[in-house]
Symmetry: C2
Subunit: 428 residues, 2 copies
């Protein structure tokens, strides 16, 4: 064990501290696996004075990123700065200087994928990013390598812990979204600005990465439907559970059909209670992958958090250390995807919650609009609600076209007896 | 794409045919991933006349294994003969001749692990065996590589599709074990001689492999408790579901505690319905892995069958083709396991089904025996059963020592009012 591999960590925040703690705790195990000495040679952050609760030799700390990027002895950089810049420049510079890169930065990968991969290939270095989707769950390697004999047909799942935590707590306690969000922020499960998680953007970025590895296609976020969970009410969750034996989950969904048309979308979805995803609660994540040879597989675990994410980051480092010259394929190089289906052409069953005055003729008007748009109703249910003159009407449709449902809602919401924006949730 | 990699397949049975079908269907995808030409150069089987429903050039078929083992152009052999011999000799000979090996042969690996790995290391070739545990589920690679930063604390799950199918059907239909077994045999889900699956041996072999990769320890099957599902009755399943909100699953369990003591065992287990494993039905498998950094993760999918298993076999081939010189670690080389816990010292909660005459003093006698052995009872329930003079008494204990429970059962089964062997099932 003569050879030493030097690591450089850029970004000493929560995940960075988890990486330091993991290296500290399990260094013997790691060195044993790679049969080399491993050293965290430098940690760079703007703040090198705050105590992170991990032991670090002060000599290792620096505020100057060039102490990593320009150090010829450093073989692998771990980028945990997050965001677009300066993270992108750090990564590109590191690769140009012949360093391998490990990152958890899904936002950056989802936006600058091609530039980053081209740079890695050109400089004959590896970039690993297992931690960018599904936190600690071994997910991208199974998708890219473990299922390499398959044409991937579908990838769908729960890949945002914050949104899943909020939906779980709303379900458990029957509480309003805002109340649970505040609690989640207090518990550290939601950011102070939670927009990214609750509006589905984080889920969308991860789905972009899954689609690259699964289908060999890069889809920009502006080209698909992304919808968050902020409009979900306890009424929706209660009705789903009691009347539809389903739970509400924020799902990322991507599937390619036999003609090479890709459906890709992020939105709240009603999942039957018998489905494994319905049992994925709190901050846990799980992703279904369906391959043409293997059928369905599922990976489950903690999709975020200091230590789970550090587990994936350090595993990536080990992977590189075991194999610096590996010829890695980042997803299938030829995509079967010929076309991206417009959301308006997606078909689904729909749950509708229409808030209307309780008076004769309401159902007649509603069913007329739906029928004119070729939407047939599977069930209708109206619950009396006290202390309001408008009542929720719950409908479930048979399979219908998204554009027809959107048109129907536009018409319904213009009716004078409809008092709130109609809520729709697609069924899995 | 000049270079050609030649594969040789030994064993043209169900899985072998699946491998041929997979290579046939997805060869473009595979060649694209490895950036080399890939050719299945030779298939060897004693029977080369039966139609397997896949297209094969007759020139590729041979009954002489040396056509693969002694062909210098063949880089990778796929061993799907199964069993101990001649499979072992084929593998060793192939490796001595510088060929990489892909196998699904869990029986062989579980018995001759050290000899096989030593031979691979000595000859600088790789042996891959993802298909040996969990069929098509990417499981061993995530355990060995994806969680490489972790000390693995626990591995447990459902890893035999036949047993899980039988238990699922017994639960769904309330049928007796024998009836469901016959149906499973007709459906092709159980072998004509099902002993290996229903008595837990197959599960045990797979657990041996999981323990090697997870804990770095080889445990021979004779050194741990292995119990099958043949004694489970519909009464047990019904009581579990209705009174204990649990289902009966055949689990493989291995866990190492902080002192380095390993618990390893295979037996039917009561799993709470809220647990993900309770929703793993039919021929599906799922394995929980708990790491000290990542916490719990779970992998789920089809644990057997022609195509799922072929998916894993071909993925292993791709892995080797991408990286012929990879320095692979087969599990942690230093084990944290210092000692294997004797089954008699395992602690668990227990479900007991005691079949006794319904007369005064019975419960008093039973509770006396249990109390003397320091086993405290959490609940007792007796159900009237028609057309028999003996009735089942269901008990659930608090945590108790296995040896005390075994002693109690020995005493209970000697009581003159006890009319059948007492059934125990451990709780998860």
């Amino acid at each position: 064990m003569e050879e030493t591999i030097n690591l450089g960590l850029i970004g000493f925040g929560t995940i960075g501290s988890g990486v330091v703690a993991t290296l500290d705790k399990n260094m013997h195990l790691i060195e044993d696996k790679v049969q080399k000495k491993v050293k965290l040679k430098k940690i760079v952050d703007l703040d090198i004075t705050t105590d992170r609760g991990v032991d670090v030799d002060p000599e290792v700390l620096s505020t100057n990123v060039d102490d990593i990027l320009e150090d010829d002895e450093i073989d692998i950089i771990i980028e945990l700065v997050g965001g677009y810049q300066p993270a992108l420049n750090f990564i590109l510079k590191a690769m140009e200087n012949g360093k391998h890169v490990v990152t958890a930065n899904k936002a950056l990968l989802a936006k600058h994928w091609q530039e980053i991969i081209d740079c890695a290939l050109k400089n004959h270095v590896r970039i690993c990013f297992e931690a960018s989707v599904g936190g600690g769950i071994p997910l991208l390697a199974p998708l890219n390598d473990g299922l390499a004999a398959n044409n991937i047909e579908t990838v769908y799942g729960i890949i945002n812990g914050t949104a899943n935590y909020i939906l779980t707590k709303m379900d458990d306690a029957g509480l309003d979204f805002d109340v649970v969000l505040k609690e989640a922020q207090l518990m550290g499960y939601a950011e102070q600005d939670p927009t990214f998680d609750i509006e589905g953007h984080d889920t969308a970025q991860k789905l972009i990465i899954l689609s690259i590895l699964g289908f060999g296609v890069y889809v920009s976020q502006k080209n698909f439907h992304v919808e968050g969970i902020t409009k979900i009410k306890p009424d929706d969750i209660k009705f789903a559970r009691e009347e539809l034996n389903s739970v509400v989950k924020l799902l990322a969904i991507a599937q390619v059909d036999e003609d090479g048309e890709l459906e890709i979308r992020v939105h709240p979805t009603l999942v039957p209670q018998t489905h494994l995803l319905a049992s994925v609660n709190d901050v846990f994540n799980a992703v279904y992958i369906v391959g043409d040879i293997v059928g369905p597989v599922l990976m489950y675990g903690q999709g975020a958090g200091m230590m789970p994410t550090a587990s994936a980051v350090v595993a990536d480092c080990i992977d590189i250390m075991q194999d610096m010259d590996s010829s890695v394929a980042y997803g299938p190089s030829k995509s079967r995807v010929k076309k991206i289906k417009d959301m308006s052409n997606v078909e689904s069953k729909y749950y509708l919650r229409i808030t209307a005055l309780d008076k004769p003729g309401v159902l007649h008007s509603l069913s007329g609009i739906l029928s004119d748009l070729n939407i047939s109703i599977e069930s209708v249910s109206q619950r009396k609600v006290d202390q309001t003159d408008a009542v929720p009407i719950f409908m479930v449709t048979h399979h219908a076209l998204e554009k027809n449902v959107q048109k129907a809602i536009e018409l319904i919401d213009k009716l004078d007896f409809v008092k709130e924006e109609t809520m729709i949730i697609r069924l899995l």
